[in-house]
């Protein structure tokens, strides 16, 4: 009986170690940030789970409970942190490496612009998506608006609801006057604030 | 021979020197503080390696007996608790003083616009000269 338990436990341990090693290799070899996140996340979830569950077969009852609790918390926390990390990276504008993989979350620019402006001017033909520049301007705006925190707080609550819906579509592209972009960035200062502290 | 018995100290010294090098060679204040924290951890590690007894277990008594009659087994080899106590408090004090250092860095950034050592010194010097002239 104990031999059988030991064998099962060893199988779990070996599986866990396998996933850890594969995760490590993947972290080094995979091409871009997102697939690397997948590898790292696998180390956390599958690898750690395998090892901890494997250890259960060699442990006393109380320790088993503790180990399973640890598994539960790792599954909660590490998975979610990977999720948050990837989303933050995406918001920051880190690109997918593989050109054959289409980024389905970015709408084709033609339709987006058409929806936003109603009709597309011929001259404004679709520039390639310059995510790096967007990330730069993100940092810029964050620092500009940082000073007006107190101000933003006072009217942030009201103006947020509009800016929430607007800022995604046209107001961003058509912010021609300085004042408009200023007020926009003010209302966003809170979001930037917490965004920074998260990253 | 000494390698087998002393290598812990040597690795700890290497770690310590890594931290020290960051502190004195890097110009960036935040980087300096990171070096300081590496240095601090290696000093803590030096103390803890000294407190270790071969074959010893953690200095929490292995109890024998049940409930109120339990008595510690004093024949078990325990590690020395004194360095542990000293280092435990040192870690928390370390983070508190680290926060103080980081607060200073933030203030320096606000008044000088930079956190690079040499730029700060340059600006100081320029100001002094302008005061003298």
């Amino acid at each position: 009986m104990s031999l059988a338990l030991a064998i099962v436990g060893t199988v779990f341990l070996a599986g866990g170690v396998f996933f850890c090693v594969v995760g490590g290799i993947g972290l080094l070899r995979l091409p871009d940030f997102y697939s690397r996140c997948h590898a790292a996340g696998m180390t956390d979830s599958a690898g750690a789970m395998g090892i901890l569950v494997g250890l259960c077969f060699f442990a006393e009852p109380l320790v088993i409970v503790k180990l399973l609790t640890v598994v539960g918390f790792i599954w909660l926390s590490s998975v979610v942190s990977t999720h948050a990390l990837v989303k933050a990276a995406y918001a920051r504008g880190i690109k997918l490496e593989n050109p054959r993989v289409r980024d389905w979350t970015v709408r084709p620019a033609k339709t987006a612009a058409a929806e936003a402006a109603g009709d597309v001017p011929k001259a404004a033909k679709v520039p390639s998506l310059d995510l790096a520049a967007m990330a730069d301007s993100d940092a810029d705006a964050g620092s500009t608006s940082g000073g007006e925190q107190g101000l933003a707080q006072s009217h942030g609550a009201e103006s947020e609801s509009e800016s929430e819906s607007e800022s995604e579509s046209e107001s961003e592209s058509e912010s021609e006057s300085e004042s408009e972009s200023e007020s926009e960035s003010e209302s966003e200062s809170e979001s930037d604030d917490s965004e920074e502290s998260r990253t | 021979m000494t390698l087998a018995t002393h290598w812990h100290y040597w690795v700890v010294i290497a770690l310590m020197m890594t931290g020290l090098h960051i502190v004195i060679a890097r110009r960036n204040y935040v980087k300096k503080l990171m070096g300081l924290s590496i240095f601090q951890v290696s000093v803590i590690m030096l103390y803890v390696t000294m407190g270790k007894v071969a074959g010893g277990t953690a200095p929490v008594y292995v109890m024998e007996g049940e409930g109120h009659d339990a008595v510690p087994n004093l024949d078990v080899v325990y590690s020395n608790p004194v360095p542990h106590v000293l280092m435990l408090t040192a870690i928390v004090v370390g983070i508190a003083t680290m926060a103080l250092g980081l607060a200073l860095v933030v203030r320096i950034k606000e008044s000088y616009g930079t956190v690079e050592d040499d730029v700060v010194i340059e600006k100081d010097r320029a100001e002094e000269e302008s005061l003298e002239s």
Partner: protein, 362 residues
């Protein structure tokens, strides 16, 4: 001997991480690596049987200090300038290293039970603390009772550092304090608001973290744990709350007044227990004086209260430090260029960065 390969691997990792921290110019990466460095060293402390130290290091080094570094980087620059190689620094470091290296030859072998360090008070604590204090965790006995003065001093240092950070970073326009406006419910950080998974999981985990902190606080007498660790874990729960719902949300449940009071109250509680021992007829921090007929009961009570004081001060200081760092307005940089792209916002999937024609391109 089974630890040997593990120790060797961890030490190699530590060395590599330490060197990379020195060479990395991206300070965000370096900050994460210092967290990893702390976590690896916590593993090593466990192997070296210093479980209490490992616990503290894991909570402080990997948790709080990383958050502090990141908060600082948000207020300063996130990349380091290129600095020239300084041969003087390398010379100084290698000389110091060599001197220390030769110094080790006079040290006792690693793990030698007859080393001088094991002859002094350490042996006494191990042999007699059960009769004198009556706690299974010798580290707690030494920390709170035998070396209570030390710990009191350390706590005072933590308190002072907290005050120092407050003085340095609390600006007049700070969001905190009596003048702070009540938090509008809708002003939670939109960034996290659009991450329902993170919010839900944080909500699930928070009570467990708080419960664990209380457990660590109370269980420090019997296993690894105690006021320092519990304080840090408790603060970590608040910091998590702040990261997910924004710092202002935390001020709703833990106003700054209360935290400042907590900082002082913990130290006062510690000192007060000592003074109470004086009134009970003993010396300062001599808990046995509380119950002369049964000294170890008095010790238990004294240690419990003192650890409580430590926990309160440490957690309050950590939360306050986190607050002042995040509440600090960021330094102004040149304004956004006219007509430049607004920052991309994170939203539900279909609305993500829609490309917009730039002014220059038309």
């Amino acid at each position: 001997m089974t630890e040997l390969p593990l120790e060797a691997v961890l030490f190699v990792f530590l060395l590599v991480v330490g060197i990379v921290v020195g060479r990395l110019r991206n300070l965000f990466g370096a900050a994460m690596l210092t967290g990893i460095f702390s976590f690896l060293s916590a593993g090593l402390f466990t192997l070296l049987t210093a479980v209490d130290v490992a616990f503290t290091e894991a909570a402080v080094g990997a948790g709080i200090s990383t958050v502090l570094f990141l908060a600082t980087l948000a207020l300063t620059d996130d990349t380091e300038r290129e600095s020239e190689r300084s041969w003087l620094a390398i010379g100084v470091v290698s000389l110091t290293g060599l001197a220390l290296f030769f110094g080790t030859f006079d040290m006792p072998a690693f793990g030698d039970p007859d080393a001088p360090i094991h002859h002094g008070v350490g042996r006494h604590y191990l042999m007699h603390s059960w009769d004198e204090i009556g706690l299974p965790n010798v580290v707690t006995s030494v920390l709170a009772s035998y070396r209570g003065y030390d710990t009191f001093g350390e706590l005072a240092v933590v308190f002072t550092a907290g005050i120092g950070v407050l003085l340095l970073l609390r600006s007049k326009a700070a969001v905190m304090g009596a003048k702070a406006k009540p938090i509008p419910v809708r002003s939670r950080a939109p960034y996290v608001r659009e991450m329902p998974i993170v919010r839900a999981v944080a909500k699930v985990m928070l009570p467990f973290i708080l419960l664990f902190a209380l457990y660590v606080q109370a269980h420090g007498d019997f296993g690894p744990g105690g006021g320092f660790q519990a304080g840090v874990v408790f603060a970590a729960a608040f910091i998590l709350y702040g990261l997910v719902w924004g710092p202002r949300a935390v001020q709703g449940i833990a106003p700054e007044r209360m935290l400042e009071g907590g900082m002082a109250f913990g130290v006062l509680l510690y000192g007060g227990v000592g003074v109470a021992a004086l009134f009970a007829g003993g010396t300062f921090l001599d808990y046995s004086a509380f119950t002369p007929e049964h000294p170890s009961h008095g010790q238990h009570w004294g240690i419990f209260l003192v650890e409580l004081g430590v926990g309160i001060t440490v957690s309050a200081v950590m939360v306050v430090i986190y607050f002042v760092f995040t509440a600090r307005p960021r330094p102004r940089l040149p304004k956004r260029k006219k007509g430049a792209l607004a920052p991309p916002r994170l939203t539900a999937v279909p609305e993500l960065p829609v490309e917009t024609p730039k002014e220059g391109s038309s």
